[in-house]
């Protein structure tokens, strides 16, 4: 009974702000509504006994990704109320795409044989750590390689261009000639 109530509360916390994210005309409000969706998802993970995943969700998505999203969104100008029009040309492709994704997810969720047995929640951190360092060492290292590549890419993109070395320098020369 109480577990059902907790689940419904967490599900609502996830879904209602998600609807807001999709339909809010104010993009900054949408960004902040995402906070509750992410927290709700973290709550659902914790509810499933995945404590490490729940805290990681908060750490990575709330502390990292959401801050980046908000930074980006705040750099844009907020559209004035009523200026943005939703025509049929927006709604129809959006609806088709959403239904397709929903169908795909529905098929995936219903076709998987879920291991549906109730186990008492156990701390998972130590087990995850041991598995990451033994059975899943290759994916773990591979992901870190991808992140390293992304970091190097970012560093190259923001590198200062010296005169005559890179796009800005070239343009200056063209203007001069």
């Amino acid at each position: 009974m109480i577990t059902d109530l907790i689940f419904v509360a967490l599900a609502l916390l996830t879904v209602v702000p998600a609807v807001w994210v999709a339909f809010s005309p104010n993009i900054v409000h949408a960004g902040f509504a995402l906070l509750f969706t992410l927290l709700g998802a973290a709550g659902l993970y914790a509810f499933l006994g995945a404590d490490f995943i729940a805290v990681t969700q908060v750490m990575v998505y709330v502390g990292g990704v959401l801050v980046l999203v908000l930074f980006t969104v705040m750099m844009t100008r907020v559209p004035q109320q009523g200026r943005r029009r939703h025509g049929l040309d927006h709604y129809v492709p959006a609806a088709v795409l959403s239904l397709a994704v929903f169908g795909l997810l529905y098929k995936a969720i219903t076709s998987v044989q879920w291991n549906a047995r109730a186990v008492p929640a156990q701390p998972t951190t130590a087990e995850i750590g041991v598995n990451l360092m033994s059975n899943y060492i290759f994916p773990f290292e591979y992901v870190s390689l991808v992140l390293l590549a992304a970091m190097i890419g970012a560093a190259i993109l923001i590198r200062e261009h010296r005169n005559g070395d890179g796009p800005d320098g070239d343009r200056d020369e063209e203007v001069a000639s």
Binding site: V58, M59, V62, G63, M74, T125
Partner: protein, 349 residues
């Protein structure tokens, strides 16, 4: 905590869920009261420390001794102020932001081990949880800055968020050697592993942990947005940063959260490196564990204030240089070094 659960289940005849909810409510109220007391004591302490470092008296008139009642008077004044919401502000976000900032601080307090067995949420992931939920403060600051619809507030919020996101990394990295030594993220386990006098505290276990402590300390000052890293609030450039437009009760929430976070990072420093509730020498064993813990925390707060009122403010580029090019590499070296030291000394299991 076990005793409290037992009391509510046996004596008051509640179910397990009821007992947990009741204990959680009691602990949350208790934490909130301690938090408010902290803000009260630390405002007075900050003014006295600042005054002492600048060779003046500070508040002397309110109350008999050293102007101790000044903080109380200030609190009453702030609660009596008019609550102003700017006409062009985003009202919903403007109202919600202080609550979110305070919520982030309060959530993090839940995993602080005050004494053996006395922790509001005895989580297996305690330390990781604290670092994760404190990131909600960043969202609250961004929300406050944007909702105020004020350029200084927005600048302050953007600076604050950039700074806190950056310094979270060395902060967490500096804690990793301690977690490696303990083999647990549980805050109580970390403190228990430091039993047996000052030389068993993690700060003195090996040179890498000693450096880690200072990395943690510097990063924690930046995390709390205090001098010399107080760019988000620079009064000479940004009026007051992200809380420029806030008055009265809502401003008090930011204020409360700032001092709550100050005490939080100080207490984390104590539990990670300075032995938590254990007394430094056997002669001081008679003090209650919670009192030892709080005294150490207040001493760390004093150190923090000392730094704030001694050093000039750094520039934004110096701040980022320090974080990404000095502290993060140093913290990584400390992590690897502490690991090698553990292997060499046979401490690794």
């Amino acid at each position: 905590m076990e005793a409290m659960y037992a009391f509510f289940m046996d004596k008051a005849g509640m179910g397990q869920a009821g007992a947990h909810v009741t204990v959680a409510a009691i602990m949350a109220t208790l934490m909130f009261i301690v938090m408010a007391l902290c803000a009260l004591v630390f405002t007075w302490m900050e003014r006295k420390v600042a005054a002492f470092l600048q060779s003046r008296w500070g508040p002397m008139r309110t109350g008999r001794w050293q102007g101790w009642a000044q903080a109380v008077a200030d609190m009453l004044k702030i609660l009596g102020k008019e609550d102003i919401i700017p006409a062009e502000a985003d009202k919903a976000l403007f109202i919600f932001a202080p609550l979110l900032v305070l919520l982030g601080s309060l959530l993090a307090w839940a995993a602080i081990p005050w004494a053996p067995g006395f922790v509001a949420a005895d989580l297996d992931l305690g330390l990781f949880y604290i670092f994760a939920v404190s990131s909600m403060v960043i969202i609250g600051i961004l929300m406050a800055g944007w909702a105020s619809n004020n350029k200084w507030a927005l600048y302050g919020a953007a600076r604050g968020a950039a700074q806190m996101v950056s310094y979270e990394i060395p902060l967490a990295l500096a804690a990793i050697p301690v977690v490696m030594y303990t083999g647990s993220l549980n805050t109580q386990d970390i403190v228990i592993a430091q039993q047996g006098g000052i030389w068993n505290w993690f700060i003195f276990r090996n040179p890498f942990l000693f450096v880690s402590f200072f990395l943690y300390f510097v990063a924690s000052i930046a995390e709390t947005n205090r001098g010399p890293f107080d760019m988000p609030e620079t009064e000479s450039e940004l009026v007051a940063g992200y809380h420029t437009e806030y008055t009265g009760m809502r401003f008090a929430f930011f204020f409360l959260s700032e001092y709550a976070n100050l005490f939080l990072v100080s207490m984390i420093a104590v539990l990670l490196f300075l032995g938590g509730w254990w007394a430094p020498i056997p002669g001081l064993d008679f003090l209650p564990a919670a009192l030892t813990f709080v005294i150490k925390g207040v001493l760390m707060v004093f150190l923090n204030m000392w730094v704030r009122w001694t050093l000039p403010r750094v520039r934004v580029d110096q701040l980022m240089h320090l974080c990404w090019k000095v502290m993060i590499p140093a913290a990584l070296i400390c992590t690897v070094g502490a690991g090698l030291w553990m292997m060499a000394s046979g401490a690794a299991g």
